[in-house]
């Protein structure tokens, strides 16, 4: 089989360096201030790497926390130190963008369990001096938020003007409100759900099994053995990538078109464009992501069930909240379909919370939240603008 041409990328060592000594600003919380995890263990010391954009105003009231998705990181609006590509949400975050860094101070932390500088399985375990690997404790969405709370405390910010995120980022948004509602003035959960469905868990299990079936995974110890479970993680990414797109988007983009050839080769080569595309997606992902992080983060998402943490009544998670919500879903998203967003909206209505809900027409599937969707921008920009007005937000030049 001829592999599709891979772009020239930074070597694996760059990625491992970013995990262990990030180029981003970062704060390490010492061993005497451990992070108590939902699994019962503690993480200490632990580091949170983050990026910020814009300027925090005098009364520290204009901070927006952006929460990233499964394979995202803190590089929301700057060139990525490993891939050299633009930030993953530059359409949304920037000067004059819906999350306007001329008005707001934007903070995007790498989640714990991630691999871009916050403590995760690729970080060095202080007890052994080697990467944690599978010694890293299983974390939850709640643990990720608990670490973010510590970062926000460290930055001296009392109330976040908004917490915004899509997909797993949206789960963190919901968890933030459930845990720290009084510190969240507004919340924008996009293309997300208050719990993982059986189908969501099933797809993640396929991905994890692909990673673990790769002999180079070495029971999670690959970093110590100088190996990379490239094939397994690549297959996991390929399967997941299908779930991020709609059937129509795939069909429109590729159809049955052949890749760089006029006829079928009667082999298992990547004859079809869609095969070549997926192989490319898988291959570039491996260059920037840690396989164990993928296992841990997908597990955290599978464990997420906000209602279960609140007596099986989702509304209880939001009781008494004063936070203003803007819930967004996309018509062709079958990974976190509109009915999941509606369940969140119903729970918010049940506690008479202030909620807006918009379903955006798009044929781009779950990925729509990362793409050029003018209605998404108008919604988020309009919602934040009105919330800023209501809060009497003081920003530079006003």
């Amino acid at each position: 089989m001829t592999a599709p041409a891979r772009p020239t990328l930074a070597p694996v060592s760059t990625r491992v360096n970013e995990a262990q000594t990030p180029s981003s600003p970062h704060v390490t919380f010492a061993a005497d201030t451990p992070l108590k995890l939902d699994c019962g263990q503690v993480l200490a010391p632990f580091t949170v790497a983050y990026q910020t954009y814009g300027t925090l105003n005098a009364d520290k009231s204009n901070a927006i926390l952006v929460c990233h998705a499964l394979t995202g990181d803190q590089h929301v609006a700057n060139v990525h130190p490993v891939t050299g590509k633009p930030g993953w949400w530059e359409t949304m975050v920037g000067p004059g963008k819906p999350i306007d860094i001329d008005k707001y101070f934007v903070i995007c932390p790498n989640i714990i369990g991630g691999c871009m500088g916050s403590t995760g399985p690729a970080s060095v375990n202080p007890a052994t001096g080697k990467p944690y690997g599978l010694d890293f404790p299983v974390i939850t969405i709640g643990d990720m938020v608990a670490a973010q709370v510590r970062l926000i405390d460290h930055l001296g910010i009392d109330t976040l003007f908004s917490v915004v995120g899509g997909s797993m980022g949206g789960m963190q948004v919901l968890e933030w409100v459930a845990r720290q509602s009084q510190r969240v003035y507004s919340a924008v959960p996009i293309a997300t759900a208050a719990r993982h469905s059986a189908q969501n868990i099933a797809f993640h299990e396929v991905g994890r099994q692909a990673v673990m079936a790769d002999p180079d995974w070495c029971q999670g110890d690959y970093l110590n053995l100088d190996k990379v479970p490239r094939r397994g993680l690549s297959v996991a990414r390929m399967a997941a990538h299908i779930t991020y797109l709609s059937e129509d988007a795939l069909q429109d983009k590729f159809g049955r078109n052949l890749q760089d050839r006029d006829r079928r080769t009667f082999s298992f080569d990547a004859d079809f464009q869609v095969e070549s595309y997926l192989r490319y997606q898988g291959s570039t992902f491996v260059d920037r992501f840690d396989a164990n992080s993928y296992l841990y983060i997908t597990r955290a998402m599978d464990y997420f069930d906000l209602a279960a943490e609140h007596g099986d009544v989702l509304a209880n998670a939001f009781r008494g909240t004063k936070t203003r919500f803007c819930v967004v879903s996309f018509t062709s998203d079958w990974l976190y379909p509109t009915r999941e967003s509606k369940a969140i909206v119903r729970a918010l209505n049940a506690v008479a919370a202030n909620v807006s809900f918009v379903e955006i027409e798009s044929d781009k599937g779950h990925d729509a939240f990362l793409l050029n969707e003018p209605e998404l921008f108008a919604t988020v920009g309009g919602f934040l603008g009105a919330a800023a007005e209501r809060r009497g937000l003081k920003v530079r030049g006003s």
Binding site: R324, C326, V327, V345, R346, N349, A350, V351, A352, N354, V355, S356, F357, V358, E359, I360, E361, E375, A378, T379, G381, G382, F383, G385, A386, A387, E389
Partner: protein, 210 residues
């Protein structure tokens, strides 16, 4: 007609202005079937209300949220059950009740969710409508009901008298009833439902549950 605050010179719907007169300043208001958000905007500007909306059309919801209004996509027939009792000072249904599938259930929900309910609707008892039906023998078409019966979303049209009967049936109380014509002029009839029903093109009711 100019905005009462003299600010934006935008035309307001006659029933919206009458509704705005009924709402106490600073109240919590749920506008069911809020359309493009014109009433919520008016109430925010003139009465500084804490307003929310429900609207069935996705495009209109998106336009409302982009303007900064708190609106969700939803259906008066299905989604009012999700709100707790007494969550709002006013639950408003402007020119929408006739288009719901279950007007009685919707009205009961409004009276449950809001401490007061405000309902406006086109009056099918207006003399012009009676006249058209009597002489032509066909479903009337007027300024207020411009569409033929097979297109109109108005599945449950009623007269002012019918509405008063429904209010009694759901055990609510009329605090104020205003009949008005298409230019928004209030009819100078206050105490005769019979005359309001004959001369009012539309009506706004302020109701209170018991």
């Amino acid at each position: 007609m100019l905005a009462p605050n003299g600010g934006t010179q935008r035309q307001h719907r006659a029933d919206h202005l009458l509704i705005a007169e009924m709402v106490e300043p600073g109240a919590r208001v749920l506008d069911v079937g809020c359309g493009d958000g014109a009433l919520l905007q008016l109430l925010a500007e003139t009465k500084a209300v804490d307003g929310r909306g429900i609207e069935i059309s996705r495009d209109r919801v998106n336009a409302c949220v982009a303007q900064g209004l708190s609106v969700i996509q939803g259906d008066a027939d299905r989604d009012l059950f999700d709100y707790p009792d007494g969550a709002f000072d006013y639950a408003v249904l402007s020119l929408t009740i006739q288009a719901t599938r279950q007007p009685k259930t919707v009205l009961e929900n409004l009276l449950r969710i809001g401490r007061r309910a405000i309902v406006s609707f086109p009056n099918f008892g207006h003399w012009e409508i009676r006249w058209q039906l009597l002489l032509g023998g066909r479903m009337p078409m007027t300024r207020n009901l411009p569409e033929p019966w097979y297109i109109s979303p108005d599945a449950h049209l009623c007269t002012i008298t019918d509405f008063v009967d429904l209010v009694k049936l759901v055990n609510a109380e009329v605090e104020e009833a205003v009949a008005f014509n298409s230019t928004g002029r209030r009819l100078p009839i206050k105490h005769s439902i019979r005359l309001q029903n004959l001369f009012g093109e539309k009506a706004v009711f302020l109701l209170r549950g018991r």
